[in-house]
C-alpha cells in the first residue's frame, strides 16, 4: 500500500466538474510537484489533501486511514499569501504552535515551558535566517522573509506532509532560488512528503522527484466548463541516484517542454 492514496477523486462545484477520476499513489518522502493551466483544479487537489475541501466522490487515505474532513497538524501548509499572522511578531508567530499545544484554554505558556518553546522558536528563527527580525511584524518583512517565516512555522509541528500552494509565486527570481534551496534542505533533513503546486515548470523539474500535470482530456469549445481536469502526465523525475533515465519520461519531458502547459504563466 502506498503512503498516500487518492482513489477515483472527482470534484464538482454546482454543475461544473473541476476534477474527474483522479487516481494517485505517493510514497513517503516523495517531493511531488504539480503543474497545470490556471483553473485546472491543481489548487483544488491540494485543498483536498489538506482537508479544507472534501471530494464529491472518491476518497483520500494516508497510511491506510481516510483523512479527516478538516485540516490537522499532520499536514502543514504554506499558501502564496496570508500564511502568517499579521498581528504577531516573527517570534510570536513561531511560538504560536507550541502555545496551541501546551495550553488548551489560554493558548499561552508561562515559566519553564515558555522558555522551552522560546528556545525552539529561536532555533527555527536561526534556521530560516530571521533571527535579526525577531520583533518585526510580517508587514515589515520582505516577501521572501514572510514565506521563510511561513515555512518555518509550518514545520514546527513536524508534519509528515507539507502542502505548498505556489509558495514562491510572488517572489523575485533571486529570492526564489534561495527559497528553493532552503526548501530542499529542509525536505532532505525532515524526510517529509511534499506536494507543491507551481506555475513555473522549471521549478517543478528542479525540485520534484515526481512531476504531475493536471489538464483537461476532453474539450468542448462551445462550453469550456463542460469537463473537468485529471492527471495527464505522471513522471518520475529522480531517484536517490539522480535523474531518471526512463525513456518514456525523457520523451514526455521533451514533449512538455515544447508544449507550454502553463498557458498563462
Amino acid at each position: 500500500m502506498r503512503f498516500l492514496d487518492a482513489r477515483k477523486i472527482s470534484v464538482t462545484y454546482g454543475d461544473a466538474p473541476i476534477l474527474e477520476r483522479v487516481n494517485l499513489g505517493v510514497d513517503e518522502g516523495s517531493f511531488v510537484t504539480i503543474v497545470g493551466a490556471s483553473g485546472c483544479g491543481k489548487s483544488t487537489f491540494l485543498r483536498l489533501l489538506l482537508g479544507q475541501e472534501t471530494p464529491t466522490s472518491g476518497e483520500i487515505s494516508i497510511d491506510g486511514a481516510v483523512i479527516a474532513p478538516e485540516p490537522d497538524p499532520g499536514r502543514g501548509v504554506v499558501f502564496q499569501k496570508y500564511s502568517v499572522f499579521p498581528h504577531l511578531t516573527v517570534h510570536q508567530n513561531l511560538m504560536l504552535p507550541f502555545e496551541f499545544d501546551g495550553s488548551r484554554f489560554l493558548a499561552r505558556l508561562f515559566g519553564r515551558r515558555r522558555r522551552e518553546a522560546a528556545d525552539m522558536a529561536e532555533r527555527m528563527m536561526d534556521k530560516i535566517g530571521l533571527a535579526h527580525a525577531s520583533e518585526r511584524y510580517p508587514a515589515q518583512l520582505s516577501g521572501g522573509m514572510q514565506q521563510r517565516l511561513a515555512i518555518g512555522q509550518a514545520l514546527l509541528k513536524r508534519p509528515r506532509i507539507l502542502l505548498l500552494d505556489e509558495p514562491f509565486g510572488a517572489l523575485d527570481p533571486g529570492t526564489r532560488k534561495d527559497m528553493q534551496a532552503m526548501l530542499l534542505d529542509l525536505w532532505t533533513e525532515t524526510g517529509m512528503t511534499v506536494f507543491m503546486v507551481t506555475h513555473d515548470i522549471q521549478e517543478a523539474f528542479d525540485l520534484g522527484t515526481r512531476l504531475i500535470v493536471f489538464d483537461k482530456i476532453r474539450h468542448d469549445p462551445q462550453f469550456p466548463a463542460a469537463y473537468g481536469a485529471t492527471i495527464t502526465y505522471d513522471l518520475p523525475l529522480k531517484t536517490r541516484e539522480g535523474w531518471t533515465t526512463d525513456e518514456n519520461t525523457v520523451a514526455a519531458i521533451a514533449a512538455l517542454n515544447n508544449k507550454d502547459t502553463t498557458h498563462d504563466a
Binding site: Q52, Y82, F85, P97, F100, Y137
Partner: protein, 273 residues
Amino acid sequence: MRLINLKPSRATAIALGALPFAIAVGAYATGSAIRRADNPADKLLPSLQAIGEAMYRMAAVADNRTGDYLLWTDTAASLERLGLGIAIAAALAFVLAALIGILPTARALFSPFVSAFSLIPPITILPILFIVLGLGEAAKVGLVVVGTAPLMTRALAQGVLDIPQEEIVKAQTLGASTWQIATRIVFPRMGPLLLVAIRLGLVPAWIFLISAEAIAATDGLGYRIFLVRRYLAMDVILPYVVWITVLAFAIDRALAFLSRRMFPWAHLSGDRL
C-alpha cells in the same frame, strides 16, 4: 504642471484647511452685523461677542436656580449617557460579531436577525423604550444602544469574515482548536476593528442621544439646546452645536490615536482616515 501633480506644502495645506472655517466665521459675522444694523435686538444671528458672553455665562457662572455650571453638568450628563450606550453596544457587537464571524452555525442563526433588526428606524423604538424603561436614564442609554449596536455588529462581523481563510486554515494545521483560533487569531484582530466600529457608531450615537435628551431629560447638551430654543436663544444654541462638534471630533481623534498605540501592527501598511 498638471493640477493633479500640484501638492501643497505643509504650511499651505494648513492654511488651506483653515480657510473654509475662517470664511464661515466671517460670513456669519457679516450676516450678523447686517441684521443687527436693521434691528439691534435681533435674536437670530447674535454677534460673536454676545455668543462669547452667553458661553461665559453657561461655563463659568453658577446657575441661579441649581448652583451648577450648566455647560459642564450638561456635558458630563451627555457624555455619561453616550459612553454607557457605546460601551454596551460595543460589548454586544463584539460578542455577536465574534459568533457570526467565527461559527458558520451562529452565522446562520444570528445574521438574518441582526440584518433585519438593523433596518428598524431606532427613533421609532424610543416610545417603546420610554414606556418599558420609564423616562429615566435607561431609556436614553437604551436608544443609543439600539441605534448603534446593529450597525457596529455588522461592520465588525464583516471585518472578522474578511480575515483571510488561509490564516484560519493555517492555524488549524498548527493544531489550534476553535476556541484557540478565537482567542489567539480572531479576538486580537477584532481590536482595531472594534475601534473603527465605535468611531462609525458614534455618528448615529450623537443623533440618538440628542433626540432622546430633547424629548425627556432634565440635563444634557440636547436638553439644553431644545430648552433654550423656546426663547430663540441662538447665542446659546450655536456655541453648544460647536461644542458638541468639538467633543465628537476629539473623541474620534482619541480613538484613532488609541488604535495606533494599542495595535501598531494594524497600521503598518496603507493610509487610514
